[in-house]
């Protein structure tokens, strides 16, 4: 049998047998639900404008309530201000989350402290300053009416140098979610390759198969088969995510398909880079317990890639963002974040892909040799040197 049909048969078996297993379908369903939930739940929890519940202890100075409302508006929310009879009642209302913020006359502003919503904390800062400034103005003899009018003024507009558009937001969401899925995908499918190879080795079926196909055909068929399943899962996730986003009314910019395509591209590059190394880890082991140890360095590298992506997400034009896309083991997760969030030059994507592909070629050859050298070896786990011996 020539190589291509042999590879196709091996890949076909891989897709059929794995696609038939309950584990695969349960895993896929969990992933789909997870992604849909990640998109839908934040929207459900977010009922338009935030309403701040503010209590004022004792007699409120004139002008304080309007200024609280103006402050809340500056933060994009509304305020409901109510007078509270005693400091004790106000504190217990704060404690039971009946109130977000309490103004204790001239003495200051009280928030819960632990788990305070960042926008409540922001409002507290503004209100605390208002209280102090209004007291000074009143002491300086400014009439209450003037104070009220002054503090009810609308805030001056705040503009962004780099505009935050819904498109940016969507890109960020795609990067955050996409990186998590990339990470899970590479680790999961890599693990499948390792355990699949080890299953063939430990059940000794490899010897039967290898009497008909060459080791590199068996290896290629296995990683292609698992890669196709992975790609299918990826496509299903992208579809589910898009449907979920549209159905809850999220804005999807025209760049969304491109962003998803970029993630898929890097999934393929990352899988190509890692898959044969995962196979070699399986072939080098002889018992199921040894496989995670043998694959350990690979999962660690993928985790490093994920951490690099997190760093790039918070600083998409920093040093890490410029360097890590050119380190092949990290590039699959670093490059999408750099591309979608930072200001990547046009040459960066092809250059990063080329470096990754070149490294993939070298690694596949090396791992393929290690695989062929150890798949039929029995006994203890092979050392790297033994595996690579021609």
């Amino acid at each position: 049998m020539s190589a291509v049909p042999a590879v196709r048969l091996v890949a076909g078996r891989e897709v059929r047998e794995r696609g038939r297993s309950k584990v695969f379908w349960i895993g896929t369903s969990v992933l789909l639900l997870g992604v849909a939930a990640a998109i839908v739940v934040p929207v459900l929890g977010h009922h338009g404008q935030q309403t701040f519940r503010v209590g004022i202890v004792g007699a409120a100075p004139a002008g304080l309530a309007p200024s609280v409302i103006a402050d809340a508006a500056a933060l994009g929310g509304r305020a409901r201000v109510q007078a509270i009879g005693s400091a004790a009642a106000a504190r217990s209302a704060l404690d039971t989350q009946a109130l977000d913020l309490v103004i204790e006359g001239q003495t200051g502003v009280l928030v819960r402290g632990q788990n305070t919503d960042p926008s409540v904390a922001g409002l507290a800062q503004l209100v605390a300053r208002d209280v102090a400034v209004q007291a000074r103005l009143r002491a300086a003899g400014l009439p209450d009416g003037r104070i009220r009018d002054t503090f009810a003024a609308a805030p001056a507009p705040v503009r962004s140098l780099i505009p935050v558009t819904p498109g940016n937001e969507a890109s960020r969401a795609i990067v955050v979610l996409g990186t998590i899925i990339l990470y899970l995908g590479l680790v999961t499918y890599g693990g499948w390759v390792t355990s699949g190879v080890l299953e063939e080795k430990s059940s000794r079926v490899a010897e039967v198969i290898l009497s008909a196909v060459r080791p590199r055909e068996l290896l290629a068929g296995k990683v292609i088969g698992i890669g196709l399943l992975g790609l299918g899962q990826f496509a299903a996730i992208a579809l589910a995510g898009t449907i979920a986003a549209i159905s809850v009314g999220r804005h999807l910019p025209a760049s969304t398909p491109g962003a998803i395509g970029l993630i898929v591209l890097w999934f393929l590059l990352g899988y190509a880079f890692y898959c044969c190394a995962f196979a070699a880890a399986g072939a080098a082991s002889s018992r199921q317990a040894e496989a995670p140890v043998a694959a350990g360095p690979l999962t660690l590298l993928i985790l490093l890639g994920y951490l690099a992506s997190l760093a790039i997400q918070s600083n998409p034009d920093g040093v890490l963002a410029r360097v890590t896309p050119f380190i092949p083991p990290l590039a699959p997760m670093a490059m999408p974040a750099r591309m979608l969030l930072g200001h990547a030059a046009p040459w960066e994507l092809p250059a990063s892909a080329a470096v990754t592909l070149a490294a993939t070629y070298g690694l596949v050859r090396l791992a393929g040799r290690a695989y062929s050298g150890t798949i039929l070896r029995s006994g203890s786990r092979a050392t790297l040197r033994e595996a690579l011996r021609p």
């Binding site: 049998m1 042999a6 079926v205 039967v208």
Partner: protein, 315 residues
Amino acid sequence: MSVSLAAERAGGPLHGRHRPGLLELAGLRRWYGRTVALDGLSFTVAPGRIFGFLGPNGAGKTTAMRIVMGIELPDEGAVRWGGRPLTHADRLAFGYMPEQRGLYPKMRVRDHLVYLARLHGLTAGQATAAGDRWLWRLGIGAQAFERVEALSHGNQQRVQLAAALVHDPQVLLLDEPFSGLDPLGVEDMAGVLRELAHTGVTVVFSSHQLDLVEDICEQVAIIDRGKVVLAGAVRALKRRGSPRLVVEVEGTGPDWYEGLGTAAVESIDPSRIRVIFSDADPQVVLDRARAVGTVRRFAIEESSLSELFLRAVGP
């Protein structure tokens, strides 16, 4: 699959799609570090024969079979088929049952056989038909849709044999096919092998149980420490080995045979002993035996393979 192969296979019976020819192992050498596994192993197997590849554990049988199947490479020497070096494509016409049995435990029996047949170049239709035929032929047709791991040990062995046969190979290499089989299983397996040899398949099997298989093979190569110590047609070998004289006499002392020739003695029960002469005049022995007691058995027997082996490797 190459188009020509597919066309050839679609044409009719699968036998005869390749040239039938001698399988020839020529001067195979293989070292594992400093251990010599094969030390210039050479022998030839004719098509349509059952060939026993015999020898004690560790003699190099498995290594030789793996080299024939291309799973291992020899350090020196070559394997030829029909006079030409054996290629990967040729090996698709070979069936192989490794010493370490192995199947995908989670795969369904029929799917498994179809998969293996297709890897050997059969079309989906041919593979399914061949899979079903062998499942029923080996008596496991009812288990076709069960997972391999759900089958009994004996039935898994049958699936393993079916896996080696499903693509109707021209050459069959079976590594220790009789190990772990009960006497009935041995007879079943021997029947299948005889049938295949009858249709022109070259059957090569290895065994370390020389006496168990001496009735099954027509030709043998007995190897020890990586080289052939004895080879040829079983009958000729046995004839060549000097026959032995087995005498059982009742009601006599244990020393009646002394002076008659080289002999080994076994007592069967207190009053009866068996004496095996390797060089003695039968007439003289018979006269003496009749004189000392009641002769219960008097037979001239051919040597067994294990005796031949011991003589060949002995001091």
